[in-house]
Symmetry: C2
């Protein structure tokens, strides 16, 4: 069975690797001839909005899916006329626009931080007066890894922020006091069965995910709440595949920040740290196979390698360290790989974490 | 770094998969254009004894290794003139000839079953008189999966067995009363560091491995003995990479049956069941990287899929079942894949094992 994957980045690469032993061959569509996923399956090189490339990509597929949420909706719909597409294009629509996303969460009774749509400088000033400072102004579309965002610390910042981001639809998000960021990864099969991984604790810097720890410490009491959010979202979208929801852990209820209708960086630890990886479970779901166990195997800490790669030999000398290099050219701010530390118990992770942190502060010159 | 692997079967495929995340790209040499490893790296199609193919294969490699032990020695030596070859060709020489192998074990004080070299029918009769019946007559070279063997139950069977196997150098092995078959998988790095996986219990039928269970139940008391054998063999050969030694568990010492200078079928469980798989550790060793932890993660049961493949959906419905299909055309007696069941404790495996056994008795018609 051939599974089409729109996008050929590292998520596609890990999907392709997960499918191969199950007899699921992935075919990727990506504009870059050196896309990492090309090492894990057939690569169709073409633009996502090129009908010819889309049709070559779609020919003979049993099912199609995607590894990033900014797939043009027209492309997803063109594909859906030819082959079954999971998750449904409706999930893309909800995830691509921050206002649609927040409206979607609210329609399901899933709380979010206070927000206002902003289309003009006047809207921004009014929203800021209502929500107070600090607040974050974001583009409604195409933001990722902290791009397309501005923090407003005082009402006087409005004009500057508008000058930087204005001209496209925006959203202002009120400041929320939260303890930490969590994420829930859930999966739904074609038969409607669902499963969730344990909550993950995430640490971002400069808008980019740096660390994920799973299961999130002291989060068992929040698991049911997060799974409830995920189940409502999955059912409402008639979703098939893995869905990630980023959450703020507050003194009140968990607040949904955003969702990704795909496998997610905060789920990379599942390769070694769970019985079935998010990649395998996504493919099992879209291919109509039974879901695999989402139970953790010990505790895991995932670290992104951003902009530079440490000496592989030094990383591999850390017991329980698992190295994943994506084979991408180094560039500042670019995700080049990740390392997952796994241990049977949380105590085992701490020393390893310090050792690895030291390594990551001294990336290899060749990185 | 490009690692050359002579042979492109399922072992090569799993080596290629293990190397990719470490930045180690495997290139395979195999006469079959549809060799499974072609999905996990570049495939050079050519005969193992074709100098032109060998040279194309060798060009630009950082190091070469093999995934089967019957690589022609001349080919290994030709490669060794061009690139570092691990394990050393001397290990191939010792493993390719059952008499050389037994002599090697005995030279290290590693006990083996009684044996006699047999070159003529008269030798066979004399050896049978000395060792008694039953006994097993085997070709000294190129036997695998039970091929090239005859069991002699009475002195009168000698002529028939000779007629079947004679004409090539043979060895007669005396019958040994043993409780079970075990194997030890050990790995040695370029720096001389060694590590061993827990002992594995193996069940063969018709000369083909059917099941492996790891860690072998009630075998902890035998671990040091087996590791001692492995360490002696690794040091004597100045070995680099994974070495497997098959053992008979008797009332006396463990007896060495044979060795494989490569990753081994009885180590497939390490993909899910150990912190670092045998495939990754073999590549770490030959590439000069630090060895990874060989600690088990719970208990594992590996079942070979031989001749036919069960319905993947039924296998994946068994919790903790991990499916590995090699993508080979079905043929009686052919290894087409394997399933590893993993659980945190031995009790967890038993019910799963029964469920899977039931499935394997009813292979899918499409298998």
């Amino acid at each position: 069975m051939t599974v089409g994957v729109v996008g050929g980045g590292q998520l596609g690469w890990m999907l392709g690797r997960a499918g191969d032993p199950l007899g699921l061959r992935c075919r990727f569509l990506d504009p870059a001839p050196d896309a990492p996923a090309g090492r894990a399956g057939e690569l169709v090189v073409g633009a996502y909005d090129d009908p010819g490339a889309l049709d070559r990509f779609a020919a003979g597929l049993a099912v199609a899916t995607y590894e990033f949420e900014n797939v043009p909706l027209a492309a997803a719909r063109r594909l859906a006329e030819r082959v079954p597409v999971h998750p449904p294009p409706g999930a893309l629509a909800a995830a691509q626009d921050r206002v649609a996303e927040k409206t979607f969460f609210e329609s399901l009774g899933i709380p979010v931080a206070p927000w206002r749509a902003v289309d003009r400088l006047d809207d921004l000033r009014a929203a800021l007066a209502e929500l107070g400072c600090p607040a974050v102004l974001k583009t409604r579309r195409l933001g990722y890894d902290g791009k397309g965002q501005a923090i407003l610390r005082a009402p006087g910042d409005a004009a500057d922020a508008w000058a930087r981001l204005g001209g496209v639809p925006l959203v202002l998000e009120g400041f929320v006091r939260f303890r930490r960021e969590l994420s829930v990864l859930a999966v739904r099969g074609r038969d409607g069965a669902t499963a969730s991984y344990p909550l993950v604790e995430n640490v971002h810097a400069d808008g980019i995910l740096r660390w994920s720890r799973a299961p999130a410490p002291d989060a068992a009491a929040r698991q049911a709440e997060a799974e409830g959010y995920a189940r409502r979202a999955l059912a409402a979208l008639d979703y098939v595949g893995v869905l990630a929801i980023e959450l703020f852990d507050t003194d009140g209820p968990l607040l949904a920040n955003e969702m990704a209708p795909r496998v997610h960086n905060s789920g990379h630890w599942t390769i070694e740290g769970a019985e079935t990886s998010q990649f395998e479970n996504h493919l099992r779901a879209v291919a109509g196979l039974p879901l695999g166990s989402t139970a953790p195997r010990g505790v895991s800490l995932m670290l992104n390698l951003i902009g530079a790669v440490p000496d592989p030999a030094a990383v591999l000398a850390v017991p329980g360290a698992h190295l994943h290099l994506y084979g991408k050219a180094p560039r500042p701010g670019r995700k080049l790989g990740h390392v997952t530390l796994r241990a049977d118990a949380p105590e085992g992770l701490d020393a390893l974490e310090r050792e690895l942190e030291r390594l990551l502060r001294s990336p290899s010159p060749g990185g």
